[in-house]
Subunit: 396 residues, 2 copies
């Protein structure tokens, strides 16, 4: 009568969302200040002042048809020009507006890229731990998601495992650095090695193996000397999926882009397939007002200082209490080893201390919890006794 697959996806309330809803209920019972909800990756810092100013100025522009009317399907030309110039300034690239396709955020970027590339029998690879929606996007496009384990101590690429995962069916590899949920960043040496490995595999199989670079956390790195390599400079067949959700603190506005570099194989066809996929999926254009805002605000980033402070405070405290956790260079998550084998059981025990954590099973790396520290520093400070008490229960 209806699609069982879609019904199932709708009913299977995301674990993260279910914890968040529990938190709201619990807050109503015992007061919001007594519940320590670390479940959602919802930025809690303000939108940059210059961006807010640009919004107000645009509303006064006097041309509603331009401001709120359709843009081209691939995005407003002025917006794409501003983004290309900003990328070129930051990364020494030579992108043109024609390399960019504006989207309704990172999820749309990913789904459009996967749909544009996907043929029957295809496999898409991702490294563990990974954002659970990758599986949904890939499987509902008719392809298979192959999760390749990373080094269990560092969450860095294990090239032997990768070699086992790649086959003639591999269409693309989704790379998410800084990573949700581990906070790990793949640095230049790893990227060079990855590019060389994939180039060899492309030759072996006689077809492109794409990198889909999922980059919503690109600007969220906390060590000024740390560079997040821009992947198109290392590997020609790279498609970049970007979102302004985290960098401008506006995840609800659904704005991002796909970048198809000129040097990609049959770049024109790939760009056309991106346009076709956007059309087939019902994306007419990215929201116009926010596109015009972006045109005026490239290079702006929210004040991310609070995230760095939160990371340092929480990482230090948790490791002091006996938890183990890979040091996160970026994003706004700690990925902490659960103090018993079953992460869900551990999260249930944490709940008794009013700590709301996300078990890692859906991220493809069992036995961990994800702690989203995009909350107030005050919430973190007040939660520390609970984290300490929880560790003590496990004899730490």
């Amino acid at each position: 009568m209806i699609s069982e697959t879609m019904c199932g996806l709708g009913k299977e309330s995301s674990v993260i969302r279910a914890i968040f809803e529990y938190g709201r209920k619990r807050a109503a019972e015992i007061g919001a200040e007594n519940v320590f909800d670390f479940s959602l990756g919802n930025p809690n810092v303000p939108v940059p002042e210059d961006v807010k100013k640009a919004m107000k100025e645009l509303l006064d522009c006097g041309d509603d048809v331009w401001l709120h009317g359709y843009t081209s399907g691939n995005g407003d030309a002025e917006t794409r020009k501003a983004i290309a110039e900003d990328l070129n300034r930051r990364f020494g690239t030579v992108f043109r507006p024609e390399n960019l396709y504006m989207t309704c955020g990172a999820a749309a970027s990913l789904k459009i890229c996967i749909t544009a590339l996907c043929e029957p029998g295809d496999e898409f690879i991702t490294f563990t731990p990974f954002f659970p929606e990758y599986r949904v996007f890939v499987e509902t496009a008719g392809a298979k998601l192959v999760a390749v384990s990373t080094d269990p101590d560092t969450f860095q690429i294990d090239f032997d495992r990768l070699a086992e995962g790649v086959s003639e069916h591999t269409k693309a590899l989704i790379v998410n650095s800084p990573n949700n949920p581990s906070g790990v960043v793949f640095q230049e040496e790893a990227i060079r090695k990855l590019a060389a490995f994939l180039e060899e595999k492309e030759k072996e199989y006689g077809h492109p193996i794409w990198i889909i670079a999922d980059e919503p956390y690109r600007e969220l790195v906390y060590d000024n000397s740390l560079k997040v390599p821009y992947l198109t400079k290392y590997y020609r067949n790279t498609l970049v999926c970007y979102s302004y959700s985290k960098s401008l603190s506006m995840p609800g506005e659904r704005i991002g882009y796909i970048l198809v570099p000129d040097e990609a194989e049959k770049a024109g066809d790939v760009y056309a397939a991106v346009c076709g996929a956007g059309r087939a999926l019902g994306y007419v254009c990215a929201p116009s007002f926010i596109q015009h805002v972006i045109a005026r605000c490239t290079g702006q980033v929210s004040d991310l200082g609070v995230y760095r402070k939160n990371r340092d405070l929480l990482y230090q405290a948790l490791t002091d209490y006996g938890y183990s956790c890979v040091y996160p260079d970026g994003a706004f998550y700690l990925f902490v080893k659960a103090l018993e084998e079953d992460a869900s059981a551990f999260c249930e025990r944490a709940k008794k201390h009013e700590l709301l954590l996300v078990p890692s099973d859906d991220f493809g790396t069992p036995g961990y919890v994800r702690i989203a520290y995009c909350v107030t520093t005050d919430q973190i400070t007040r939660s520390l006794p609970a984290f300490r008490a929880l560790a003590k229960e496990y004899g730490k």
Copy 2:
């Protein structure tokens, strides 16, 4: 290497878009005032003043996390409540926020509904003439589009033809009234007859046959006594797809909704499938700022007086000149019989008079042209000599 289907969809520049691009080029050559572009359905009246005021007030609300943060996947609860109340006030219905799912506009609404319902072997019916993207949305969901001809003189439902088109494979019927491109409205008697027909067919085949009511033009009717029937009141298995693009003159903002009424068969499962389809297609939530605007502005409609004036002026003049055209009760299109059999050849000849019209072939009713009159009344006035000269070439 990539999806040929998606590449093809991307390259096959929509006919409408191609004409629009030609118009821009031509305007640069001979001046915009000398080109009469009637190709695009892009509203040209301002956003209502109260809506603009609500936008400014919201930007000053001081809570960026609420204003620009994620809403629930099915939409902001306050927004859905306001919409349900507005519908109940206008149509005497008893909808609740739980019946509504916020979307990124009409195309997203349609694609999500089709994906939610679609099983292998399904057929989706629509009446001719129809919006060409229906074919794209249905076929890329893996189903077949069955175009059922309407009465050639009135574009009203031909129930004999419909009976030929419906089969055990029919999953849904897409109804678009007021219609793009004909402007025709299906009135109460036709809707009652349609509902009775479909109920009988549901019994015969033992499964629901859905109506997908595509309603972006609901408010665009120009005779105050004319009622556009609200389909859920006539047929239980109706899903309503709405968009604010035309009623609020903001097609670029991508905001609309899907309504799943309680009385629909297995309404809970259908709503879940809608949520699942939205998730699978990469729609995380509808844009948040505009959702909050809608919550404050239900019931607002742009000043549509200019469209009525344009319709009256153009319909009167063209019929005087010898063109034939069904009287359009709504939307902002005239669907005019081409003065030769081949509508594309007719459009080429119109181009010589700087008249940019859209041939009807992709709408499933060959031999017509679509004239979008959502332009300035001045453009219409100035274009009339060209329409007259064109008719004279054909001996009218």
